[in-house]
Each structure stands twice: as C-alpha cells, then as structure tokens.
Amino acid sequence: MAKVIVQMTKYTARTFSRTSRECLFNFSAPKVSLHFSRSIANSRSLNAERFYTEKHEWITIEGNIGIIGISNYAQEALGDVVYAQLPDVGSEIEKEAECGALESVKAASELYSPVSGKVIEKNEEVEKIPSLINTSCYEKGWLFKVELNKFDELKGLMNEEAYNEFLKSDPA
C-alpha cells in the first residue's frame, strides 16, 4: 500500500511540473495558477518524507516539529480502532516510552513515540473518530505533534524504502 502511495505521489508530482512548464510558456489564466498552487500544497504534504521505526510508527519532520502516527501495516494488524488515548498537550514524552494507547478488538496497545520532546498538539478528530487511524493512517489519522529536542534520535529511523524492505524481511 505504502508503495502505491509513493508511486501516486511521484506521478502527481510529474504532472504538476509539466503543468508548471506550460504555465511559463503560455502566461496562462490565473485560474490555472490557482489550481497549480493548491496542488503544490497537497503534493507537499504527501511528499514530506516519512521515517519509520521497527515498531511501525511513522514521523514526518518540519523544522523542529515532528508529526507522529502509525503505519498502514500497524493499523491493519490492530484491526478496527475503537478508542484512541493520546498524550496530553504540554506533556514531555521520552523516546520509546509509553505515551498513550490504542484500543482495538478488546486489546489495549500501548502507544510509543519515536522521538523525545514536548507534545504541542494532539489530533482531536482521531479522539472523536478513532476509525480515522484505519481509513487514513498517514493523513487524517495522524496522532500527535512533538517539538523535538533531540535530533540525533532521528538517525536510527528508516526511510520509506528501507521500511518497505524491512517489512519484506520481517516475516510476520
């Protein structure tokens, strides 16, 4: 699934770059450029590089802010999430320490953060509608945002390609 998303992203990016070239030559109408800028915003959020842990959490970084969620593999393994207990805004969390829980099929699975830092936002939509984790684990189903204080912690994480390889090599 993750691969498909990456491919889709690549193709969209290609289409947009073509559009942009046409724009340059044609001095086209503002309608087109509006469309263009909106698409850029969308594709950027898809393009923001996701890093993964071996325990199937993902993180994207913008500046010193990390957005954290669980991977498609993890959400499929969990099954239907019925309750999301997310860390409180303002709390300090430690890398690989328990910071919340996701409940599915009568199991409470502890939630871990791939990085240390201060929680600056949690996804309240996910608290209201936990199934977003199942239906949109990389977009609407993000879990919380952390202000990073140890950038070194990112070194051990896998990029998309390495994570896909990891999934292949770790038979489950």
């Binding site: 699934m1 691969k3 498909v4 071996e54 325990k55 199937h56 593999y73 993890a74 499929e76 393994a77 969990l78 099954g79 019925v82 309750y83 207990q85 690989e96 328990e98 829980a101 409940e103 599915s104 099929v105 009568k106 199991a107 409470a108 699975s109 502890e110 871990y112 608290e127 209201k128 936990p130 999934l167 292949k168 770790d170 038979p171 489950a172």
Partner: protein
C-alpha cells in the same frame, strides 16, 4: 501488497488459525522462531494466586507485565476474586454498572489495564492471564488450551467465536477476553464462568444512569452460562488442574500435544503469595488500583444531560437541558441548554450556571445536588425523569 501474500502463506500453512495471525502479526517474528523451533527452549509455569482481592490480583498481574522476562518462560496466572465489577481501560464506570446497588452490596468497582468491556467477578469465576513477549501474543492459542481442557476432561463442546469469547451451544458465553500489548511484554486474560452468582451479575451490570454521551469503549451484552450448568461434575479445583495440565503439555508456540515428556520439562504449578516481600513495588501498584484517580479519574471525557422543568413566576414551565461536561472525572462545565425545538429568542442557547460544584468530582448524586442547588436559586423546581432521546448514549 506483500501483506496479502503473507496471509496467503499463513492460510496455506495453518488454515485453522489464519485469523489469529491477522491479530497478532503487529510486530511478530513467530514464523522465524517456529522454523528454528524454540518450542524446546521455552519453559512454562502455572502460577495460582492465593489472594482473592481484585486490587491485589490486578496489581500482581501488572507487576508480572512490568517486571518479568518472558523470553524463555511463558506463564499462566490463575486468580479468583471476591465479588467485584471490572471495567475496561477506556470505559465509563457510570455507564457500565449500577453504582447504587453495587455500593449497597459491597461490590467494589475497579478499572483494569486491558481493553474491552465490563465483567462481574466472584469466587465462582476463574481468571486466566497468559503472559508472553509481545511478538508471541496469541489469543486463539490460549483459548484453545481452555476448550481442549474442557473437552479432554469433561467432553464439553465449547467454541471460540469471532469476538474471542468462548461459547457453548452456539450462543451462551462462558468466557470473555481482553488484552494488554506493550513492550516487551503482553498479556491476554479471560474470565471463565464456573459457578458465578448470576443474579448478582445481572443486577450489578444493570445500567441506571441515563443521558451520558461519550466515545468511551462500550460493552457488548451477551447471554451467559455457568460451566456447572453444562456439566455438574465441573468444579473449580478440578478445572484449575485440568487447564493447568493442558497448558503445560502443549508446546509453547504451536497447539501440539507434547504429552508427559513435555510436562516433565516444565516448571509446573506454583502457589503465589502476592505480597510486597515477594514482589517489591506491589503495594504501590495495589494503592494505584484502589485510587479514585485511576478508577474514576481515567474515564474518557463525557457529557451528562438531564431534562428539567423550571416553573417561573408567571406560571409558565420552561424546559431546560442541564448539561455537565466531565473530564478526568471532574466536572469542568455546567450548562443549561434549551432543546433545539424549544429555542426561543427569550433565552440564550447556553447559560452558564455558576455553582461551587464546578471543579468537583462527578458521582451519581451530583446531578441531583445541582438540580437542588438551582432550585434554591429559582422559585420551585420539578425534576423530570424523561430524557431527551437525542442525548442518549452514543453507541459504537
């Protein structure tokens, strides 16, 4: 895509248990382990708790989960409790049980760490906790141990359904399941109804509180049966022995009978005395399980709505929705709200009622106290028992 391929392999290898692998495959490496056959290197123990106090037993379970290394040693912990009601980690106690009746009968309420719904325990119920490292968490395996023991010893035909309940005669539940998954450990625990007081069970779990709106985990109600009603020869001590032996004679990772040879390699049965001396830190866990902050304070955010009629000086009766917003068990907001169909220009949609109850702990009497408090400030007050249907419990 590769995930689907993996499932295909699972289906080919173990057609009967493919469903389990879907649940347990979160970070599993069980296939590798199976190929190297660590079945031989893992030993097993059956621990039997000598306490019948729910707080002590939950603390003991939590202690093992937090402190024990299960890499080469799997444990089945058996425990029983005096009458109590046990709610799931993310549940609302005011929805799940009959507070007044439980208090009157001295039945304690406690929140556990695992997910799932509410259960009633007494000495006629056996609790089984199966401990393994997270990657070997396997509910179907554990439940099969129980059904195999019941069949081997008494010929009872029990099945594991889609919800991981054990049922007899296709619909009567004899066992309910829940689990806690962490790192590095996990446990799956379940109840087993042997000879529980069904009247007490039904009364305790009867819901009285109305008008609670929340996204807390809901309980699923099922018809139940005691094992003694299926076979009168089943007794608690015999059952403990039967399940214990079945657990010990079964290989650690696959449901294969290892017979006497395997039993002799296991660590066997052991009585556990759950005290601070044996389990350093246990007393702290016990007091946490006893605390209001854990049992009530961990309730997911919720709203309670009550419809009240307030007669005014001009003899008109005005119908209000009285709404409490509760977070961490504490009343954060008290509002009076007009139902949408009665909204008029004379009233604001929300009128904050300032009372000294804001910031206090919620319990089943607090709503009545607030109504009385408002009554003191207005003329006379009739409380209405009817509840606006739109504010009924949101079900998942």
């Amino acid at each position: 895509m590769s995930l689907i391929n993996r499932f295909m392999i699972v289906v080919k290898r173990k057609p009967r248990y493919n469903n389990f692998y879907r649940v347990s495959s979160y970070s599993s490496s069980s296939f590798n382990e199976k190929q190297n056959n660590p079945n031989d290197s893992i030993t097993k123990s059956v621990f039997i708790s000598q306490s019948t106090d729910i707080f002590t037993n939950l603390a003991l379970e939590d202690w093992f989960y937090k402190n024990q290394d299960f890499t080469n040693h799997h444990v089945l912990l058996l425990w029983r409790n005096n009458p109590c009601i046990v709610i799931g980690r993310h549940q609302n106690p005011w929805i799940e049980h009959n507070t007044q009746l439980a208090e009157k009968r001295g039945i304690v309420l406690v929140r556990r760490n695992s997910g799932g719904g509410t259960v009633y325990h007494d000495r006629g119920n056996l609790n089984l906790s199966f401990f393994t490292p997270r990657e070997r968490y396997n509910r179907k395996y554990n439940l099969e141990i129980i059904t195999r023991a019941l069949y081997r010893e008494w010929g009872v035909d029990a099945e594991v359904n889609k919800r991981d309940d054990i049922v007899v005669e296709e619909k009567y539940k004899i066992s309910g399941t829940a689990a806690k998954l962490g790192r590095p450990n996990a446990y799956h625990h379940c109840t087993l109804l042997v000879n529980v007081n069904k009247t007490a069970l039904n009364l305790s779990l009867e819901k009285k509180e109305n008008g609670i709106e929340t996204n807390a985990t809901t309980s699923t109600r099922s018809p139940i049966k005691n094992l003694v009603d299926i076979n009168s020869h089943i007794q608690m001590d015999k059952l403990i022995t039967a399940i214990g032996w079945e657990y010990l004679r079964t290989k650690a990772l696959v449901l294969e009978d290892g017979g006497q040879d395997l039993i002799q390699r296991q660590k066997g049965f052991q009585y556990i005395n759950p005290t601070e001396d044996w389990f350093p830190g246990l007393d702290k866990l016990i007091s946490e399980f006893r605390s209001w902050e854990w049992n009530y304070g961990k309730t997911p955010k919720f709203m309670v709505t009550r419809v009240v009629d307030v007669p005014t000086e001009d003899n008109k009766i005005h119908r209000f929705n009285l709404v409490l917003e509760i977070e961490n068990g504490i009343i954060e907001e008290i509002k009076m709200k007009l139902p949408a169909d009665l909204a008029s220009r004379d009233f604001n949609e929300d009128v904050s009622v300032i009372t000294n109850l804001r910031g206090s702990r919620y319990d089943h009497e607090v709503m009545e106290n607030i109504i009385t408090a408002i009554g003191c400030k207005t003329v006379t007050l009739n409380t209405s028992q009817t509840v606006d249907k739109s504010n009924m419990i949101a079900t998942q």
